[in-house]
């Protein structure tokens, strides 16, 4: 009885999810029969959403016949990476989702492998980072924040939803470095969830919060925060009011990307088919529906571009982590 109801509820949810995009039958443009998505974390997380959203768009648009999903959590993603490398031969049909933490965690040695041990398929979406303050704060720009920091560095704490050395901390440090401050001196306060960091910001425990841009936009639209700066090259269409770091004289950019990896030794033609399917996906209304629902930003890097992008990010993050004493 218990099982029945659980499944019924799941079916209701699944039907609701399906109705977002009308399934279009493969009009002869199907690229692949099937994709098996390997998700290195549990159900409900960011990786899970990315893999399932991408699979939904690919199958609904008729680019891929069927998609299946497997959650394999453990070791901060290391378990799935190890599995994909050890069983490379039998996993040519598998794509693993991953994101910026694969760079950070292989640098800090959480797992022994890094992205070079895998076949790079494509980076698909991303999110910029942003610095926010409460809506009623007397800080209105990065210049104000830096002035407050200079006046009293000890009480100008910046918070974030990641561990020290994690993404939110690195972004805060990166911005302060680029503004000519010593990143080591910046007081970074970690919270274990974005919601808790936000509560701390509004209670006045921290002066500013380093967070993802899409999260910041949602909060700014609710009238709770002001966005001081975003780490993109140009202002982002989703929220034009947010100035970039660059235009305020802080020369730094950062993208938290999400993308897909294949098993090492993936045959060329198979790799090309994956990249082709993903490239075609961007023009479909099915993808647009998924993307808009999740508030993702299209940041497409395929093949060698993806490699260059990752190598650059690895260098920037590596240098910063050395400076901060994490390496």
């Amino acid at each position: 009885m218990t099982l029945k109801l659980g499944r019924r509820a799941l079916m209701v949810a699944a039907t609701a999810a399906m109705s977002f995009g009308t399934p279009v039958l493969a009009g002869g443009h199907q690229v692949l029969d099937s994709i098996h998505f390997l998700i290195p974390g549990g159900a409900g997380g960011g990786w899970d959403g990315t893999a399932r959203g991408t699979g939904e768009a690919l199958t609904n648009a008729g680019l891929v016949g069927t998609a299946s999903y497997e959650n394999m959590s453990g070791g901060g993603g290391g378990k799935a990476i190890g599995y994909l490398i050890e069983n490379a031969e039998s996993n040519h049909g598998t794509l693993m989702v991953n994101s910026t933490p694969i760079i950070i965690r292989s640098l800090t040695g959480v797992f022994p492998q890094n992205f070079r041990d895998l076949t790079l398929v494509a980076g698909t979406i991303g999110d910029y980072a942003a610095m926010v303050v409460p809506a009623d704060s007397n800080i209105d720009s990065m210049a104000d924040l830096l002035a407050a920091y200079d006046a009293d560095p000890n009480s100008t704490a910046i918070g974030g939803g990641s561990v020290p050395g994690g993404m939110d901390h690195l972004v805060a440090a990166m911005v302060m470095e680029a503004a000519g401050k010593d990143a080591l001196e910046v007081k970074y306060i970690p919270y274990d969830a974005g919601g808790k960091a936000m509560a701390a910001l509004l209670s006045g425990e921290i002066k500013a919060l380093s967070t993802g841009f899409s999260e910041a936009v949602a909060l700014a639209q609710a009238g709770e925060v002001k966005i001081l700066g975003v780490t993109s090259d140009e202002r982002v269409g989703a929220y034009e009011d947010a100035p970039t770091m660059k235009e305020q004289g802080i020369d730094t950019t950062f993208v938290n990307w999400r993308g897909f990896f294949g098993a090492p030794g993936l045959p060329e033609d198979q790799l090309a088919a994956y990249q082709d399917a993903i490239a075609k996906m961007y023009d479909t209304p099915e993808w647009e529906a998924v993307r808009a629902r999740n508030g993702w930003v299209n940041i497409h890097n395929s093949g060698d571009d993806f490699k260059a992008f990752l190598e650059n990010q690895e260098k920037v993050i590596g240098d910063l982590m050395k400076k901060l004493g994490f390496l």
């Binding site: 949810a13 070791g75 959480v110 561990v163 919270y191 919601g195 509560a199």
Partner: protein, 504 residues
């Protein structure tokens, strides 16, 4: 608040959520009735089902329904068999069972159902008033206050240790705190105590731990302890009606105990069990000399008091959960774990960020109490038949859901090994009469305690926050008092509750 109510009404009356309430209350009533299976075990077993639903409001509505359903249903076996299903209904057997012996089983069940309904409904009303108020205050809390609140919570466990003695409860709390240190903390980038095992990197899974503590040992305990099975026939129950005069007698009791029970439930560490004992004691003390003689021999007041109080307290325990994100009891600790697994962070921001969850749960409590009234009044003679279900059908069911539940969600076979390993340890501890709820509360509070303490140290460059923030100091003083002045009621409760599943 009106706006919130509207959101809650529209969410709670969706078909899915209505089904969840009814289903949760049904399961809760059935399981609550069975002596030996507490609300914690059944909620632990239901977590994977709730997570599969995916919608946090529906999941919380389901689990909350199970919780108060179990407290509601637990009284049936207290009255009919003198074998309370949950610790929170132990006090109900003091007068409920004598009534049944006198041939007034039907009347006793009616009084229990009405008192429970009133306690639960008034509790929900108070929750609706006090949770937003506390939430507003909590928005001003810094890490230092949260740290102090956790300390209060932990010391309350020691003070109110319902089953077993205080030293054992403290020991189990410490064990929980130790288990919480495994894995990568939120504040340090390094794995601790993982012994190089990758699956421990992100710490022990709360759900696996909850299952290991409350589902596996319960099942094994039932196998190894057949004497605890119920033997009553639960058959003939007649005369459900109560007279107008009896109604007039219990009305003031219900009024007082709804309020008292609710506020006891709000206190971290106290819960339905403490509330029911206190309610019984208070009502006996203030009753007239003549009525006092009846207590213990089938007094309707003596039955109405604990029944009202335990349901009101059960609702009250949602206040710290929903406004501060702190579990006041083992059951709410499990609910907190389930919410976190669904990507919802309970706390003062919950009402702002996801008002539909908060209000839908409150509205569902009214619906749930109505459902329970219907279940318990006209249908009780039939439902009581569940007491005759042989254990050998029940146990495999529990084991199956336990094992399946810890695997689902993570898809990680190592969880199964951890579950069985910890389950065996937990069973041994239960045989030695160590309470397991403090371990779970220690585990879930441990990480928050450490994080908030470390953050405060960082913000104030040391222990300065103790002096700079008077509210922190005040809370710590309360914590010290809770340890120094343990409630004498808890000692009484201890003796009575022996051999009954950890209540709440």
């Amino acid at each position: 608040m009106i706006e919130g109510l509207m959101i809650g009404l529209s969410a709670a009356f969706s078909l899915q959520n209505l089904l969840m309430v009814i289903f949760g209350c049904l399961i809760g009533t059935f399981i609550g009735m069975l002596p030996g299976l507490g609300p914690m075990s059944i909620i632990a077993i239901m977590i994977p089902v709730a997570i599969t639903i995916g919608d946090p409001s529906a999941a919380l509505i389901l689990l909350a329904g199970v919780y108060y359903g179990a407290i509601f249903g637990g009284s049936t076996s207290s009255i009919l068999l003198n074998a309370p299903g949950v610790a929170g209904t132990v006090a109900s057997s003091f007068d409920g069972y004598p009534m049944a012996r006198k041939g007034q089983a039907g009347k006793a069940l009616t009084i229990a159902a009405i008192s429970s309904f009133a306690g639960g409904s008034i509790g929900a009303l108070l929750l609706m008033i006090f949770a937003p108020m506390l939430s507003t205050v909590a928005l001003l809390f810094h890490s230092a206050e949260y740290f102090a609140l956790m300390v209060v919570g932990l010391s309350a466990i020691a003070a109110f240790a319902g089953t077993g003695n205080v030293a054992k409860a403290v020991l189990m709390t410490l064990l929980g705190l130790i288990l919480a240190t495994v894995g990568e903390g939120a504040l340090f980038n390094l794995p601790r105590f993982t012994m190089g095992i990758m699956d421990l990197q992100s710490g022990l899974s709360f759900i696996t731990l909850a299952m290991a503590m409350f589902a596996l040992p319960e099942a094994l305990f039932l196998v190894m302890n057949p004497a605890r099975s119920a033997q009553g026939d639960g058959g003939k129950i007649t005369g459900l009606r109560i007279t107008r005069e009896e109604g007039r007698k219990i009305a003031p009791v219900i009024g007082r105990q709804s309020i008292q029970g609710f506020f006891i439930g709000v206190l971290p560490g106290a819960g339905a069990t403490i509330a029911s004992f206190l309610g019984y004691a208070v009502e006996r003390n203030i009753a007239s000399k003549e009525e006092q003689k009846e207590f213990g021999h089938g007094s309707i007041k003596g039955l109405a008091a604990p029944e009202t109080a335990n349901n009101a307290a059960c609702t009250g325990s949602f206040v710290p959960l929903l406004t501060l994100g702190i579990p006041g009891s083992g059951t709410t600790a499990i609910l907190l774990g389930a919410l976190i697994a669904l990507n919802v962070t309970p706390g003062p921001r919950l009402m702002i960020d996801e008002p539909q969850i908060f209000w839908a749960v409150i509205i569902s409590m009214y619906i749930g109490n109505l459902v329970l009234l219907v279940l318990n009044l006209p249908l009780i003679p039939y439902i009581a038949k569940v007491l005759t279900i042989p254990r050998n059908y029940l146990i495999p069911f529990i084991l199956f859901f336990t094992l399946m539940g810890s695997y689902i969600g993570q898809n990680n076979a190592t969880e199964l090994l951890l579950l069985v390993g910890m389950g065996v340890c937990a069973t041994i501890l239960r045989f030695a009469d160590y309470p397991l709820a403090p371990l779970l509360i220690g585990f879930i509070l441990g990480r928050m305690l450490e994080d908030n303490f470390a953050r405060s140290m960082q913000l104030y460059d040391g222990m300065g926050f103790l002096i700079d923030r008077p509210m922190t100091l005040g809370l710590l003083v309360i914590a010290a008092l809770l340890v120094v002045v343990p409630s004498y009621r808890a000692r009484r409760a201890k003796a009575r509750a022996k051999g009954i599943a950890d209540g709440d």
